[in-house]
C-alpha cells in the first residue's frame, strides 16, 4: 500500500529494532559447525597411534625452547635481508620499467637491454641464481668486490625479483590512459618529466596491491639464502636438527615466518580493498 501524504513525499521507512534471532542464529550455526569440524579433525589426529611420535619429533616443547634463541637471531637476518632487498628491488625494478617505457628513439638500446634482462632473469630459477652468485662470485676472489655469500646471494634475489617487479610496474604504466601522455606532452614537459610527474604516480597507485603480494612472497623466499650457508632462521634450525635429530627447531622457524607473513598478507588485502573502493568512488 502506498501511504497517502498530501504534502511532500512519504517519510523514510521506520528502522527495525535489533532482532536477536536474526543476529544470533546464523552466528550460532557457524560457531557450532566450526567446533564440530575442527573438533573431529583434532580428535582424529590425537587418537592416531602415530601421534605421540609426531609430537615428539616436531612439537617437542623442550627442543623448541632450546632452539628458539638461535633460530630467532637467524630470523632477524631474514628480516634485515628482506627489508633491504625489498627497497633495492623496488627501486631497481622501477628504473628498469621507466627505461623500458620511455619512448624516444635514443632510448632504444636501453629498451633492448631491459627486455633481455627480463627474459634472462625471469627464466632462471632463483635458487640457481642464489647458488651461482653466492658461491661463484666470492670464489673468484676479485680484489675490491665484497666477499660475503650473504651479499651476493642477496644480489641474486634482487636481480631475479626485479625482473618480475619491472613487469608489474610496466603493466601499471601501460594502464595509464593515453590522454594523460598527450596532456603532459602538450604542456611541454620533457619525456622524463612526463614520466616522473604525470605517469608514474598513477602507475604505482595502479599496481600497489600486486607489489604488496611480491613483498609477502619475498619475505619467505629470503630463506633460499640458507642453501649458501647464510645463518638465517632455516639454517640455524637445520644446524640444531643435525645435532639432536629433532625437527622441532624447524617448526619454530615456520612459526616465526607465519608470524611475519600473515600480518603482511592482511595488510596487502587491506590495501587492495581500499584501492578498490577508491576506484569505485571515482567511477560513480
Amino acid at each position: 500500500m502506498i501511504p497517502n501524504h498530501p504534502d511532500g513525499p512519504p517519510p523514510p521507512p521506520r528502522r527495525r529494532g535489533f532482532d536477536w534471532r536474526v543476529a544470533l542464529v546464523p552466528g550460532l550455526i557457524s560457531a557450532v559447525s566450526i567446533i564440530l569440524v575442527f573438533g573431529l579433525l583434532g580428535w582424529l589426529v590425537a587418537t592416531n597411534p602415530n601421534w605421540p611420535r609426531i609430537q615428539a619429533q616436531f612439537f617437542n616443547l623442550d627442543h623448541m625452547l632450546a632452539a628458539a634463541p638461535r633460530v630467532g637471531i637467524g630470523f632477524l637476518i631474514n628480516m634485515q635481508v628482506w627489508l633491504i632487498a625489498a627497497v633495492a628491488i623496488g627501486s631497481w625494478a622501477l628504473l628498469l620499467a621507466v627505461v623500458r617505457s620511455l619512448r624516444g628513439p635514443w632510448f632504444a638500446p636501453f629498451r633492448v637491454m631491459v627486455v633481455l634482462y627480463i627474459d634472462i632473469f625471469r627464466g632462471l630459477p632463483v635458487l640457481l641464481l642464489v647458488i651461482l652468485f653466492g658461491f661463484g662470485i666470492p670464489a673468484l676472489r676479485i680484489p675490491g668486490l665484497p666477499n660475503s655469500g650473504l651479499f651476493w646471494g642477496g644480489v641474486a634475489m634482487v636481480l631475479s625479483y626485479s625482473a618480475y617487479v619491472c613487469e608489474i610496474y610496466r603493466s601499471g604504466i601501460d594502464a595509464v590512459h593515453e590522454g594523460q601522455w598527450a596532456a603532459a606532452n602538450a604542456l611541454g614537459l620533457s619525456d622524463w618529466q612526463v614520466m616522473v610527474h604525470a605517469i608514474l604516480p598513477q602507475a604505482i597507485r595502479n599496481v600497489l596491491p600486486s607489489l604488496m603480494n611480491i613483498v609477502v612472497a619475498l619475505q619467505k623466499d629470503v630463506a633460499l639464502l640458507s642453501v649458501i650457508g647464510v645463518r638465517d632462521a632455516v639454517r640455524e634450525a637445520q644446524i640444531y636438527t643435525a645435532t639432536t635429530f629433532n625437527y622441532s627447531s624447524l617448526v619454530v622457524a615456520a612459526l616465526l615466518f607465519l608470524l611475519a607473513t600473515i600480518p603482511m598478507a592482511r595488510l596487502a588485502d587491506w590495501i587492495t580493498r581500499r584501492d578498490r573502493t577508491r576506484r569505485l568512488q571515482v567511477a560513480a
Binding site: 606532452n185 611541454g188 614537459l189 598513477q202
Partner: protein, 249 residues
Amino acid sequence: MGADFLQIDRLTKYFGQHLVLDRVSLSVARHEVVCLIGASGSGKSTLLRCINGLIEPDWGQIRLDGVPITDRSFGKTGLQRRVGIVFQSYNLFPHMSVLDNITLAPRKVMRMTREEAEAKALQTLALFGMDRFAGSYPEQLSGGQQQRVAVVRALAGDPDVLLLDEVTAALDPELVGEVMDVIRDLKVQGLTMVIVTHEMAFARDLADRVCFLDAGRIAEEGPPDALFRRPEHPRTRQFLERLLEGGRL
C-alpha cells in the same frame, strides 16, 4: 591584421595507408577565431594535434608568426608554450590538485617559483570563478568545472594560440553553457583560437570563420553566416542537413 599569424601549408598526414589530412592549407590571423567542423574522422583533431606538435605531419609545413614550428628557435618545449591545447576528455592529472595541475608546466618547464606560479594560477582561476576549487582534486569536480580547469591549465603558459578539441562533447547539455561562456570571454580578450566543435550554435556564435573538413580536406570555408545559410559545396550541404534532421542546428 595580416592573415598569416598561424599559417598551415599543404599539411598531409597518413596513419598507415589511410590518408587523414590531404594538403590542408589554412591561415589564421592574430585574434581570429576559426572553427573546424565536419564529420567524425574528417581529420579535425589530427589537424589540431599537428599544430602543437603532438603529431608530426608527413608533408607540408606549419608556421607560427612566420617561423616553421619545427625550427630550432622554438627549443624543445617552446612550441607547447606558445600553442596551448584543451582536450575533449579534459585529461587533468587525477593525482594532483587543481592548483598543481595548473602550475606543473610553469614550475617544471618555465622554471617559475612555486609562489609565483600559484599566485598567477589563482588569478586566472578567479577569472573563471574557479578559485575556490584550487585545492580540490579533479574527481571532485563536475565535467564543466574540470573542463574550465583544463582551459586554465592550457592558458598557464600565456600561449599565443589556444586549440580546443571538442571541449564540450563530453559534457551534459546543462554544462556546455558554462564552458562556452569561458571561451567567449577568451575571444573578447583577443586570444587566437582554433576550435574543433560539433556544437554548431557555438561555431555560429563565436567563429570569425568556419572551415568544413571532409575526408582530410577543407571542402569549404567562410564566415559562419554565409557557410551555414548558403553552403556551396554539396558535402557541406549534406552535413548541415543531417545536423538539422538530428536537431543539432
